[in-house]
């Protein structure tokens, strides 16, 4: 009986760990997509800035 209780507890612990890893991996992937999105938005802004001529360019 004691052995069965130990197995039951062990099974529940395994279940929690497995669910945490599976759901956690989905969350991590989602966060990675979000950080790539932010990088793209920042890169686009910096490219636009680099392309825009300075208002005083060509005055000399």
């Amino acid at each position: 009986m004691k052995l069965m209780e130990a197995n039951e507890l062990s099974g529940e612990t395994h279940l929690i760990v497995a669910y945490a890893i599976l759901i956690g991996s989905l969350v991590l992937y989602g966060n990675w997509l979000r950080s790539r999105y932010r990088n793209i938005v920042n890169s686009r802004a910096s490219i636009l800035e680099a392309r825009t001529p300075h208002p005083h360019d060509g005055e000399d």
């Binding site: 039951e8 395994h14 497995a18 759901i23 997509l33 490219i47």
Partner: protein, 238 residues
Amino acid sequence: MLRVPAQAIALLALGSIGVVATVFLGITWAPDVNPSQWRAPAAYRIIFLHVPFAWTSFLAFAMLFWGSLRWYLRRTERSWRLVQSGSDLGLLFGIGVITSGPIWGMAEWGVPWDWADLRLNTFGLLTALALFIVMARRSQPDHDSTRDTIAAVGLFGFILVPITAVATTLYQKRHPGVVIIESEDSGLDPTIRAVMMVGFVSITLLFIGFTIISDKLYSAEAEIELNHRALDEINGGE
């Protein structure tokens, strides 16, 4: 401004709700299994996410195969993006399968892995292949010759998918057999099957949402790379 399609966000939201519902139903609604027949009866509930992850990983590997094939036939950026997203998602879902599976194996069999089991090992190889492709893409310069090599690995590696899929039917050693297809062997409780179907739908919705967003991001990143090169040329020419 980069626009992420509203449909993709809606799919991710629905999929996430579905995953939470799957876990909730899997723990509260799905019946217990006979404790005298199982070493760790509670751990069987891992299948409610493990099996949908495995199914979705096959979708990702199919996308990787299709992208690799199209890359050889047409050499378009669109087909290369399929290789990129397919390998990323194949790795994501593959890692989920090869971590949750051994966790269940440890509870139920007492060992996490069986080196004599065909399905475990072919699926492990498939995930290793996705890992190789992701690492090769990130570490090698992005030339056509690199893409050819990576696409060749994606193309021939797909042979492992049908072998993995039928492994438990043709050569069952330790991994449990097919549970979704109705047969005398599966004998799956209707409640367990219903929860698993909720899991399937939810993870598939997440997969579609992730694929749409990943494709958009890779497309935008390629465009930025082109713009950077053009800027470098202008600055270099001055």
